[in-house]
């Protein structure tokens, strides 16, 4: 019998290895898998590469993970925010490596990883500083149909931590509103995707027409309670 439901966050994350690339979903207050990030902190894996749109806010969640010093590198589009002081301090002290990626390239590089695409050409970033690799060398470019493109490579994850809304034991997932954001593409891009959900349903109870992430992209599902916090996304939901 297939049963992807993990009994706890700790069980779901037990085998995250040192040196892993961890894709972490979420954008702003929506879709951040806070319980899974806390679980990763407790689990203790180090020398991680983290992929997220941002680089942590305040002192909790991703910022708390960064503060442990266990993240070697972050790949993101928008690290600088009003309350990104944990990342700012580490970056200025030279204690974390940053690969800055245009947000659309981030999403498409993840999608490409999930879809088995070896690399792709895109006009985004052509002629800019971000058409260079982190070591400063120029990325490959090509003129296609009269337009200049940059070659971009996929981002594969060892693990993806995503927050969904409902799931079942086959790993089928639905999301809530704009909390969907990076979840579906990160689920595709990682070898082991762990999704937190607020409800676990019996097989067949999720409308198959409405499943957003089919279970083939998901390894583990763990139920976490809905937290009624201002930043948690569920304050006004009955």
């Amino acid at each position: 019998m297939i049963n992807k439901i993990a009994a706890s966050v700790a069980e779901a994350l037990a085998d995250v290895r040192d040196g892993a690339t961890v894709l972490i979903g979420g954008f702003g207050t929506a879709g951040i898998p806070g319980e899974l990030i806390d679980g990763l902190i407790a689990q203790g894996a180090r020398d991680l590469t983290v992929v997220n749109n941002n680089a942590g806010n305040g002192d909790t969640g991703l910022a708390a993970l960064l503060a442990t010093g266990r993240v070697r590198k972050i790949i993101c589009s928008f690290p600088r925010q009003a309350d990104s002081h944990v990342f700012d301090g580490l970056y200025r002290a030279g204690r974390i490596e940053l690969e800055l990626v245009p947000q659309g390239n981030l999403a498409e590089r993840l999608r490409a990883a999930g879809a088995g695409i070896g690399a792709f050409f895109t006009p985004t970033g052509f002629g800019t500083e971000l058409a260079r690799r982190p070591d400063g060398s120029p990325k490959e470019t090509r003129r296609i149909d009269g337009r200049d493109h940059v070659l971009e490579y996929p981002i594969h994850g060892d693990v993806a931590l995503i927050r969904a809304e409902r799931g079942d034991r086959w790993g089928n997932l639905t999301y809530r509103q704009a909390a969907r954001n990076f979840g579906p593409v990160m689920a595709m891009a990682a070898r082991c995707t762990v999704a937190s959900v607020h409800e676990v349903l019996e097989l067949g109870q999720l409308d198959p027409e409405a499943v957003v992430t089919p279970g083939i992209f998901v390894r583990r599902v763990v139920r976490v309670p809905r937290v009624a916090t201002a930043a948690g996304g569920f304050r006004s939901v009955g």
Binding site: T29, L98, A178
Partner: protein
């Protein structure tokens, strides 16, 4: 400049937003950048139906909710709570950026540090040493939308034109800006340089040309 008797008023922020909104056609799919462009949504002329896109996976984005009605799963790219209009839809990030990158958005309106007369855009980094770079979706929007418009003050706080022959700040994209809406005038960027669309009352063309410091064709 003693001889010129230019007497004019700058467009206020609201007037500038209204000026941009006036040019957005009925039925357009539009992405409004973070900051000043967001205000354009408040000035869409009555009777026009515009569908707003937010890069974090929303089409049909509505205004901010009433106090107490915020839902933090429903936010815009600036991470502020918004609402969804009837008919709106949610989708994941790769689809959302495919809407930009695949040329499906009709218009995006962005702020800028500098725009060149041929439409090069610099709006993501001042390149100052020591600042932490952050790009977000700026580069995708700039190259992907069918038309990229910039709205900004024409002059910096120290009086220098933000419209330049060549951008000195790090580029967001090359030759992507179609129109520039400013507090003093609106322009079209063409391969041959700036073309004037309109200007505020009382501002003489010579005075505008002096402020911009670049050739302007009428």
């Amino acid at each position: 400049m003693g001889a010129s008797v230019s007497s004019y008023q700058r467009r206020s922020k609201d007037e500038l937003a209204r000026r941009v909104a006036r040019d957005i056609p009925d039925g357009a799919y539009v992405n409004l950048g973070i900051g000043q462009p967001t205000a354009v949504a408040n000035h869409i002329p009555p009777g026009r139906e515009i569908i707003l896109h937010s890069e974090n996976g929303i089409l049909g984005m509505g205004p901010a909710p009433a106090a107490g009605q915020e839902d933090y799963d429903l936010i815009n790219a600036g991470k502020q709570p918004v609402t969804l209009r009837p008919g709106g839809a949610f989708f994941h990030h790769a689809d959302s950026f495919a809407m930009m990158r695949g040329g499906h958005l009709d218009v995006c309106v962005l702020g800028a540090f500098q725009v060149s007369v041929t439409g090069d855009l610099a709006n993501w980094s001042t390149g100052e040493p020591g600042t932490i770079p952050a790009v977000g979706g700026a580069m995708d929007l700039a190259v992907g939308a069918r038309q990229t418009w910039v709205m900004m003050d024409l002059l910096t706080k120290t009086g220098e034109s933000k419209i330049v022959a060549r951008c000195t700040y790090p580029l967001t994209a090359i030759g992507c800006v179609r129109r520039i809406y400013t507090d003093l005038a609106s322009f079209e960027c063409t391969p041959r340089g700036l073309r004037l669309i309109d200007h505020v009352d009382g501002l003489a063309l010579e005075e505008l040309q002096r402020l911009v410091g670049q050739p302007i064709s009428a």
